[in-house]
């Protein structure tokens, strides 16, 4: 009885509050992000947000390739690593400033995408997924190979380049880096979103839906797949460049499987095929991994339970818990968090058009949910 009233109250409340156009929502999101440094956060918390911005660029670029064109890539780390290493090598050999090095690195990255895309185009589906996984492994093994240690720096990678704003004190430096990455994220996500919804993007979607049919319509599928690879590689390289210059190191872990799977996990958290989903997912990921599990939980344990030193397995358990959360989210919400909310909004709107009363809304929502196949 009471539950019924509560549900009615909730659904009429939700139907009015969630009734915000998507563009306004994006604007509000951006406004909140712009105001983050004003909240008086320390350098550590700002670096979490910077990390989220970088991951968001990487994940959105993965989503453009996989969610929009349907070319499953398990090796996005290759672009990340190429970005990092090429900006590092440009500094090492030509002492280029980072502002000159980034555009050149982007060029190198998109050329690399072209070269990698070429053999990858011959294969489809699971073959493609596994072959793309092979590329970063090859490069990371080559980079670590001892005869080439003078060029690539071996296991330790390349260090000692100045980064973006080397002359500012730490807090101002972080703030500047935050705004810089936010602008980069904004520009690149707008570019990717516009590409995904342009005529080219529609062709990408047609390849995702039915490659044969798009070929039959006279589309040069090869050219568009390569284009998708190149755009995606370009923004992946951008993320790698920025990350290397933020951490001031380019090392073999940039090619690792964890980096390849980062955009996938993030995109699944946010919603595949949307471009904006991965951005939401990246913030969820960064806050969950770097704030809740790495900072908030240990602090709470310390303050409330007088646990002075964390048990030795905490770091192992942290990744375990995070992976479990990802696993459960993927199984429960295979369409991602942002898709889940948009679905819910659409359901609410539909139901409100039919009937103003609350409980009916809830019923339609429930019915729809149960009718979808598992």
């Amino acid at each position: 009885m009471v539950m019924g009233y509560l549900r009615r109250a909730y659904s009429s409340f939700a139907a009015h509050v969630f009734d915000v156009p998507p563009r306004l929502m994006a604007f509000l999101f951006l406004m909140i992000l712009l105001l983050v440094p004003a909240a008086g956060l320390g350098p550590y918390y700002l670096s979490i947000m910077i990390y989220a911005n970088v991951v968001a660029i990487l994940a959105a670029s993965w989503d453009l390739l996989v969610g929009r064109t349907g070319q499953i890539s398990l090796g996005h780390a290759i672009f990340f690593g190429i970005g990092g290493y090429s900006s590092a090598l440009l500094f090492k050999y030509y002492a280029l400033s980072v502002w000159v090095a980034i555009p050149i690195a982007l060029l190198i990255g998109s050329l690399a995408a072209l070269v990698i895309g070429f053999p990858c185009l011959r294969v489809k589906g699971p073959y493609l997924a596994l072959v793309t996984m092979a590329f970063p492994l090859i490069i990371s093994n080559t980079v670590k190979w001892s005869p080439l240690v003078d060029i690539f720096g071996g296991e330790f990678g390349l260090r000692g380049f100045p980064g973006f704003f080397p002359f500012l004190p730490i807090l101002q430096q972080r703030t500047a880096e935050y705004y810089f990455t936010l602008v980069l994220l904004f520009v690149s996500s707008v570019l990717m979103y516009k590409t995904a919804n342009s005529k080219t993007g529609i062709v990408f979607m047609s390849i995702l839906d039915d490659e044969m049919a798009s070929k039959a319509c006279g589309i040069n599928v090869t050219r568009y797949k390569l284009l998708s690879f190149m755009i995606s590689g370009l923004f992946g390289t951008l993320a790698g460049c920025v990350q290397a210059n933020l951490l001031r190191v380019a090392n073999p872990p940039m090619f690792e499987l964890t980096i390849s799977f980062l955009p996938i996990i993030v995109t699944f958290l946010g919603g595949i095929g949307t471009i904006y989903g991965p951005i939401v997912g990246a913030y969820i990921y960064a806050l969950l991994d770097r704030y809740v599990l790495a900072d908030l939980l240990p602090r709470l344990l310390r303050e409330n339970f007088q646990v002075m030193s964390l048990p030795s397995g905490y770091d192992f358990a942290k990744l375990l818990v995070f992976t479990l959360i990802v696993l459960i989210l993927v199984i429960k919400w295979p369409r991602g968090v942002s898709r889940f909310t948009t679905d819910k909004l659409e359901d609410l709107e539909e139901a409100r058009d039919l009937d103003e009363r609350g409980p009916r809304i809830w019923k339609t929502y429930k019915k729809k949910k149960s009718s979808t196949p598992a």
């Binding site: 053999p119 294969v123 596994l130 499987l257 699944f268 992976t323």
Partner: protein, 302 residues
């Protein structure tokens, strides 16, 4: 001398690699699951072999104890695989990308569990000291331990028996039917869910056997991160031979093994880049034959 080394060690590794890849190709052929947790079953089995070995069953006879540990480890891995299949892979089956995410998450979960349980170390895995398996004999002038010969023989026997199982038994027939057309197979009264689970268990047990034989006879140690190397090996073998093709995985195993040994022996500092070899081989092959060597012709493929 070098050539003999390549031939002998390449043949031995080829047999075990084929066994490792067999499970991967089987689960893909039947249920279209690209199981990136395949290497974890290998790693898990090696750990469990050590773990069950420490109990010292049959106190006086270390060889019997070690065989019991092997059996227990394989059964344990089979049970784990059936549970993970039911809880994690079954809900997302049919969605290619979600399956990849789920299986990689499973691999990381197993890695972290082993880290928590056994710590960040590399435990030694070997056959009991003083047994005949650790003695050496000479083939073509190359000295080879008996344990390597045992691994080779066991993997070929297992391979042959699985081939018989697939082609001669009723369950094998059902597997082939499901791999050809899932819906029609369902209409013929085949319980596909149960069959998928059975295939998963068989494939995990094959990975477990390969894991124990490779770690105990060749690598001599294991570690929480050692699921990734067998995974890259098995997927390169399987791509080389053609996904879902059983004979392809046999041939692919030998090709990759010979290529690896050639690089190890011939190239200076070759040991460090030996991990690249299988990957480079598959890229070279795919440029010529996009569906692998046995792409479309074998019974498991559509």
């Amino acid at each position: 001398m070098l050539i003999e080394q390549i031939i002998v060690y390449g043949a031995i590794s080829g047999g075990v690699y084929a066994l490792l890849a067999l499970g991967f190709t089987l689960i893909y052929g039947v249920s279209r699951v690209v199981n990136l947790a395949h290497g974890s079953f290998y790693m898990l089995a090696a750990y469990m072999f050590v773990f069950f070995g420490t109990f010292g069953f049959f106190g006086s006879d270390p060889m019997l104890a070690s065989i019991l540990a092997l059996v227990l480890a394989v059964i344990f891995v089979g049970a784990v695989s059936s549970i993970t299949y039911r809880l994690a892979i079954h809900p997302v089956i049919g969605d290619e990308v979600a399956v990849l995410v789920v299986t990689v998450s499973l691999a990381i979960i197993f890695q972290q569990l082993m880290l928590l349980w056994f710590g960040a170390s590399f435990p030694r895995v070997s056959w009991p000291a003083g047994s005949v398996l650790l003695e050496s004999t000479s083939i073509l002038g190359v000295s080879v331990e008996y344990s390597l010969i045992l691994a080779f023989v066991v993997s070929l026997v297992l391979f042959a028996s699985l081939l018989v199982f697939i082609t001669r038994t009723k369950i094998g027939k059902a597997m082939r039917a499901v791999s050809q057309d899932r819906e029609v197979a369902m209409l013929m009264g085949i319980n596909t869910d149960r069959l998928y689970m059975l295939t998963m268990v068989i494939s995990a047990m094959l990975a477990a056997l390969a894991g124990i034989f490779i770690t105990a006879s060749i690598e001599k140690f294991t570690g929480p991160w050692l699921w990734f190397k067998p995974l890259t090996l098995s997927f390169s073998i399987v791509i080389l031979g053609g996904l879902g093709s059983i004979k392809g995985s046999l041939l692919g195993g030998f090709i990759i093994a010979f290529a690896e040994k050639t690089v190890t022996v011939m190239v200076p500092e070759g040991g460090a880049i030996v991990g690249v070899v299988p990957l480079a081989v598959i890229i070279a092959v795919l440029l010529v034959r996009p569906k692998g060597l046995f792409g479309k012709r074998i019974e498991m493929e559509e």
